[in-house]
């Protein structure tokens, strides 16, 4: 009872509804639940760094997917030249993409912070094009993928046989969420970043270096998405346009969760992943998965808008 008193009733209701759905799906469509949580984990994982930039720097980074794609190439070539596994390559990718992100911020983003939003969008769209064409020139459009036997590891529970490796995305999304929340709420730098995201002028008045905070968050986000690219590579081929669709999905997740709502991004990712997997589990209805994705998105945004009007 103490717990129920401290946790808002709305969250308890959400938790109970989620639990109900999970139990129902475990009985009805266990594969859709398992694979939905796995693909939803990937969506959430990729969307989190974008949510961080949007929530604090206030920029929609349309080159988000391209940074992930470059991270995947980075890991691929580390594997080719030095025999490094993509999961290990996440560590050098973090460092390399922190530098790339910081340079990108210094050279381009910093100069567009006060520009109209449309100009910022065009700038990041341009960065996306540069990233894609750079990859095309360097490595052609041929898909590349390392051969990794652990990615098709599986387990069987009775007649239920499913892949276990893809849970890495689910786990990574939750771990990243926890780490980001700890960073933002428990560290001085993180609290400063939150303050900048909420009110840049007020933050400046209390002595927070806005530019340094923006640089830190942008660099951190690009470092994270570069490392996620290495993890993405374990199960997916990389090619110049591999990242673009994930920019759109990430943005939709953030829109669904609401600005700055990192836990919402993860919940939304799981919800959309499971919804997609449920649709795909019916033979011949696979084409509806995207429709469901965007229908859920529209329904949530409209629902939120309705609640605000009635509040």
């Amino acid at each position: 009872m103490t717990l129920l008193r401290t946790v808002p009733q709305k969250r308890v209701a959400l938790l109970l509804v989620s639990l109900g759905i999970v139990i129902l799906m475990m009985l009805w469509k266990p594969y859709a639940l398992i694979e939905g949580l796995q693909r939803g984990g990937l969506y959430a994982l990729i969307a989190l760094p974008m949510a961080l930039i949007l929530g604090i720097v206030g920029i929609i980074n349309l080159a988000h997917g391209e940074f992930m794609m470059l991270g995947a190439y980075f890991a691929y070539w580390l594997g080719v030249y030095f025999g490094i596994d993509p999961l290990v390559a996440m560590i050098p990718a973090l460092a390399a993409f922190a530098i790339l992100g910081s340079m990108t911020y210094f050279v381009t983003i910093r100069r567009a912070l006060k520009a109209p939003e449309l100009n910022q969008l065009l700038l990041t769209f341009g960065l996306a094009m540069v990233g894609m064409e750079f990859a095309n020139l360097m490595w052609t459009s041929q898909p590349l993928k390392p051969h990794l036997s652990y990615v098709y590891s599986s387990m069987a529970l009775g007649k239920l046989r499913f892949g276990t490796y893809a849970f890495i995305y689910t786990a990574a999304a939750i771990v990243l969420l926890v780490l980001l929340l700890l960073f933002l709420r428990r560290t001085r730098l993180g609290r400063a970043a939150l303050a900048v995201g909420q009110n840049p002028r007020g933050a400046r008045l209390v002595g927070i270096d806005i530019q340094r905070t923006y640089l830190l968050i942008f660099g951190l986000s690009i470092a994270l998405v570069g490392a996620i690219g290495a993890m993405f590579l374990t199960r997916h081929s990389v090619f110049p346009s591999a990242g673009s669709p994930f920019t759109m999905k990430s943005f939709c997740l953030i829109a669904m969760a609401g600005m700055g709502n990192l836990p919402g991004v993860v919940w939304g990712g799981f919800a959309l992943g499971v919804a997609e997997a449920l649709v795909l589990s019916f033979r011949g209805y696979g084409g509806w998965a995207d429709v469901v994705f965007f229908a859920v998105l529209v329904a949530v945004i409209m629902g939120r808008s309705y609640r605000r009007q009635t509040a």
Binding site: T140, Y152, S154, R235, F239, G286
Partner: protein, 405 residues
């Protein structure tokens, strides 16, 4: 001399200068190289290796003295897999480079965009790509147009013939039920619809999936549906980006049909390096192993590796090589670049190609000059593609069932 007389002398001098300069240009033009204009998607492995193979053929021809006493110049333009770029390339080759023959090609979509430009110039064209029968419908009556690659319906017919021949030759192989997983775009859908007609004697079930190329990459639901259907043959029609992930996910869920077939336009260069590739069947016009049964293919392989320090991995490499040689031999037979003579010489083509077959031109359903009419059924075995059918080019026995099920 009167003013009138001076003017007349001046006119004669000007005329003489013009004649001399003009004649110089004509002589220079006649002594210049014979120009072949190629359009290919250079960022794709098909175009990249096809263009290299063309350069190899031109180098060999020039080293042997050229054609008609002149050197051969190959001008290659990248169509970037875009119809508008492909059409602009034709204009550029015709107007700026003034090429004698158009060659090259890969995508049907790009080629459909190029056809208005080709029809404008009506130069002799020998095209190695563009398998869609929509292209065939658009080139009816163009006597200067020669098409090398089998049309889509010819490919479908050859697969029917090939699988029937394999079942007859190896009674262990039985195909009564097939599951088709096809990418949801035009390529996959049209392939599936065409296959339903071609393989009407099988029990066919199909389901679309979102290719990794378009943001997909999770094939498990389709694979599970295939597993429930328990087909004798499972075939996926998608892109190279799907090749390895689809095999990994099939292994993940334990899906091992007796025949596992992939039908992408091109395979990833290192697909054979995966342990999961073993036993996967494929369609194609050529496999590196053909060099073991064809001296022309062996020569092509050795020369290509020596020149570029890489192995040809797509059939567009020997096809590009064939493209140049077919045109070169026709020019040599015609003894001129005059259009009608060149068309007649091309019609008499009988070129033993590195693809295995001898290339000749004969009528297809709608056009007069169709080259190859069959694809081959291949299988990945121990990292290399082997030919299973046609039996005259077979380089290995079928590994059946897939994964030793």
């Amino acid at each position: 001399m009167t003013a009138k007389g001076k003017a007349a002398v001046l006119k004669v001098w000007v005329l003489a200068v013009l004649v001399v300069v003009g004649a110089g240009f004509v002589v220079a033009a006649e002594e210049g190289p014979i120009k072949l204009g190629a359009v290919l998607p250079l960022a794709d492995i098909t175009g990249a290796q096809g263009s290299k193979a063309m350069q190899l053929a031109v180098a060999e021809i020039n080293a042997a003295g050229g054609l008609l006493g002149r050197q051969v110049e190959l001008i290659i333009i990248d169509d970037e897999s875009k119809p508008e770029k492909g059409a602009a390339a034709i204009d550029l080759l015709a107007t700026v480079h003034n090429v004698d023959v158009f060659i090259g090609g890969m995508s049907s979509g790009v080629h459909l965009g190029q056809l208005p430009a080709l029809k404008k110039y009506e130069k002799v064209t020998v095209w190695i790509g563009a398998a869609s029968s929509l292209v065939e419908q658009a080139v009816v009556g163009m006597d200067w147009y020669f098409h090398v690659h089998p049309w889509d319906y010819l490919q479908g017919a050859s697969y029917v013939e090939g699988w029937a021949a394999l079942q007859a030759e190896y009674p262990l192989i039985k195909i009564e039920k097939a599951f088709w997983a096809y990418e949801e775009g035009a390529f996959g859908t049209s392939s599936y619809n065409g296959s339903l007609v071609a393989f009407s004697n099988w029990e066919n079930v199909g389901e679309s999936f979102k290719s990794a190329l378009l943001g997909g990459g999770d094939y498990r639901s389709v694979l599970r549906h295939a597993q429930e259907f328990d087909p004798d043959l499972f075939i996926w029609v998608g892109y190279a980006a799907d090749a390895l992930p689809i095999m990994e996910q099939a292994r993940e869920i334990g899906f091992t049909p007796p025949l596992f077939v992939g039908s992408p336009p091109g395979w990833p260069a290192d697909f054979g390096g995966s342990a999961l590739a073993n036993g996967v069947c494929a369609y194609g016009m050529w496999a590196p192993s053909i060099k073991n049964v064809s001296p022309v293919s062996e020569h092509f392989w050795d020369a290509y590796v020596a020149m570029f320090n890489e192995e040809p991995a797509t059939y567009f490499a020997p096809l590009g090589y064939t493209n140049v040689y077919v045109v070169a031999e026709a020019i040599a037979r015609a003894g001129t670049l005059e259009k009608e003579a060149l068309i007649t010489a091309l019609e008499a083509t009988s070129y033993v190609s590195p693809l295995g077959e001898t290339l000749t031109f004969s009528p297809s359903n709608l056009i007069e000059h169709q080259g190859f009419s069959k694809q081959k059924i291949l299988q990945w075995q121990n990292g290399a593609q082997q030919v299973l059918w046609p039996f005259e080019y077979a380089t290995a026995l079928p590994a059946y069932p897939f994964m030793g099920k």
